[in-house]
């Protein structure tokens, strides 16, 4: 994306609260979109660039959210500091997941990771004293308390989540060009060839998974502070596992802009579906639309928006592909 366009986009989102039609609902929707995008960006690092299609990122997201909330509730640790142990715990979990499942290929890795996430869902439901069980864990609300990363309105979260999305975008671009990113892509494209050219493939995969897990956990921290509650199925459930993949899959796997485009588009679609289901007085139409969109994209446009765009333009230019 050209730098001018990028700056204009960031400025437009950052000034959203000043726009004439803006209200708390719109700003909160923007925060939801940005958090969704950030999750997609974090997943994209290992799944898009590294080709390890994890279905278990709900695990890292949930660990981040629960860790931040527990550290705040039990020890009064401010989330500004709590986000570091949260990210470290998730990275450690990423290391463990990688050690157990890193040798599995493609779909088997996906299945093993989703099973881990589902196991955590059951455990979170069971250990009620620690996690609050089915109703979930709530952080104590302190009103406008910047030290506790809490505000009454959504505006501060808009800036925070926008900052995270911009950092993740720039980080993804930097990773794609770095030696580490090239090694990850080599592992994705042909693991045998990568190993033969001297890439330590297992170490590369583990590092990628840990980085992606830590990035995911940070979004968990923000989610916890914004919604003030996390429950087992939101954190570790199957729907979350799928939802995390949508931005990158729909926008374009392994690209820096993909999760941004895909995430924004998906929230638009789901908002439209929500409004429609409100009008029709039906529950769950939005989930239905999610499922149908996913079905259509995977079957008709497997490369995502950016990938299909490149294919279309290169075909028009007579490029040989």
């Amino acid at each position: 994306m050209p730098a001018v366009l990028l700056v204009a986009l960031v400025a437009a989102v950052a000034t959203l609260p000043l726009w004439p039609f803006a209200n708390n609902y719109i700003v909160a929707l923007a925060v939801r979109t940005l958090l969704f995008i950030a999750l997609g960006q974090a997943w994209n690092v290992i799944a898009g660039i590294g080709g390890m299609l994890s279905l278990g990122h709900g695990l890292f997201f949930g660990l981040g959210a629960y860790a931040t909330g527990l550290l705040f509730n039990s020890f009064g640790l401010t989330p500004w500091l709590g986000l570091f142990p949260a990210m470290a715990i998730a990275a450690a979990a990423g290391l463990l997941v990688g050690l157990v499942t890193g040798h599995l290929r493609g779909i088997y890795f996906a299945l093993a990771t989703v099973v881990m996430s589902l196991a955590f869902e059951k455990l979170a439901r069971y250990f009620v004293d620690l996690t609050g069980g089915d109703t979930g864990l709530s952080v104590t609300f302190r009103g406008d308390a910047p030290w506790a990363m809490q505000w009454r309105g959504p505006t501060a979260f808009l800036f925070l989540s926008l900052a995270v999305v911009v950092i993740y975008y720039l980080a993804t671009r930097a990773i794609l060009r770095s030696r580490f990113g090239l090694e990850l892509q080599a592992v994705r494209d042909d693991e045998g060839a990568a190993a033969a050219s001297g890439v330590n493939t297992f170490r590369t995969k583990l590092l990628g998974l840990m980085l992606s897990a830590a990035m995911t956990a940070l979004v968990g921290t923000l989610y916890m502070q914004f919604y003030l509650n996390i429950d087992p199925s939101t954190a570790f459930g199957l729907f979350q596992a799928i939802q995390i993949q949508l931005p990158a899959l729909i926008g374009g796997l392994g690209t820096a802009g993909g999760p941004v485009i895909g995430g924004a588009l998906m929230i638009l679609v789901s908002e439209a579906a929500n409004i429609a289901s409100g009008k029709l007085n039906l529950q769950g139409v939005d989930v239905l639309i999610y499922g149908l969109v996913l079905l259509l994209v995977v079957m008709r446009a497997p490369l995502g928006i950016i990938g299909e765009w490149h294919r279309w333009t290169s075909r028009r230019a007579g490029g040989a592909r």
Binding site: L111, R125, I242, V285
Partner: protein, 289 residues
């Protein structure tokens, strides 16, 4: 005695798990399709059994063949519409499509029949067989009997029946099978319909043994099918049945010694251990590596 009771209950419940796990294993073994929507097919079979009883008063046992045929036909339709494109490659795209389909079926069920869980109170009532201190409900015994009949039936089908032999031939090497004059796509439709039919059949059997049906029940059952299949060995259909029985035993023993709410957790751990250390499963020929 409690342990014996848990083991026997586990075997009886596990027989039904084995039934739908065989369907899952069939789709994987023949077509390399990891059908994440398999649990939703079981759910549909359960609703067939449930509505047969609540609307028409038909005993769920008699609804079993109906569920087999209906869900089998649905499976054939889904294969034509969706799965056909993904045969032979267990890819993430295929997994995602199946997950999306599971989500769609689950939500449709929620919209059509509501989110509440139901269980039937059929003529099987609370009658049970008492052997000393061991307590075996007739409904579970009948369910296990149905499961056994089906396992023998499937093994005979795949061993003797012409279509069964064609299914195995296509599973071994679709190109050679086409070279010697088989229509691999038609064989695959039959195999997938059989896989879905087994799910539907198992659903009706579950209703007979008072397993409560709700739109989200498939999400609980799908991991069991997956674990039973990996446990039994990818590509071994009889192995999946044994895997299902093991799953039932692990669940019941966990309930006894730990907690019923956590009965699935050791199963998940078991799956990870098998994938990490015994990738070919107990009876399998193919590995996950």
């Amino acid at each position: 005695m409690e342990l014996v009771q848990a083991l026997l209950s586990g075997v009886l419940v596990g027989g039904v798990y084995g039934l739908f796990a065989m369907g899952f294993s069939l789709a994987f073994g023949v077509m390399r399709i990891v059908n994440f929507a398999h649990g939703e097919l079981v759910m549909i079979g359960m609703y067939v059994g449930f509505f047969a009883f609540s609307l028409a008063g038909i005993d769920p046992l008699l609804a079993v063949p109906v569920a087999l045929v209906l869900v089998g036909a649905l499976g054939a339709g889904l294969y034509r519409l969706i799965y056909r494109r993904f045969v032979g490659r267990a890819t993430l795209q295929q997994l995602l499509v199946a997950i999306a389909l599971a989500l769609v079926l689950q939500t449709l069920a929620q919209i059509l029949v509501g989110p509440d869980a139901h269980a039937v109170q059929s003529g099987w009532g609370s009658r049970f067989l008492l052997i000393g201190p061991i307590f075996l409900p007739y409904a579970e015994l009948a369910a296990f009997a149905v499961a056994l009949v089906c396992v023998v039936g499937i093994e005979l089908l795949l061993g003797r029946w012409r279509w069964g032999q064609m299914i195995r031939a296509v599973a071994d090497d679709p190109e050679i099978a086409e070279l010697v004059g088989m229509n691999a796509q038609r064989v695959n439709i039959v195999a997938f319909a059989l896989s879905a039919g087994l799910a539907g059949l198992a659903g009706a059997v579950l209703v007979m043994m008072y397993y409560p049906v709700s739109p989200v029940v498939g999400a609980t059952l799908m991991p069991i099918a997956l674990i039973a299949t990996v446990l039994g060995g990818l590509g071994s259909i009889g192995g999946a049945f044994i895997g299902g029985i093991l799953c039932g035993i692990v669940e019941q023993v966990t309930s006894l010694f730990w907690n019923a709410a956590l009965q699935d957790v050791p199963l998940y751990v078991l799956l990870l251990v098998i994938m990490a250390f015994l990738p070919q499963g107990l009876f399998g020929r193919q590995s996950a590596h």
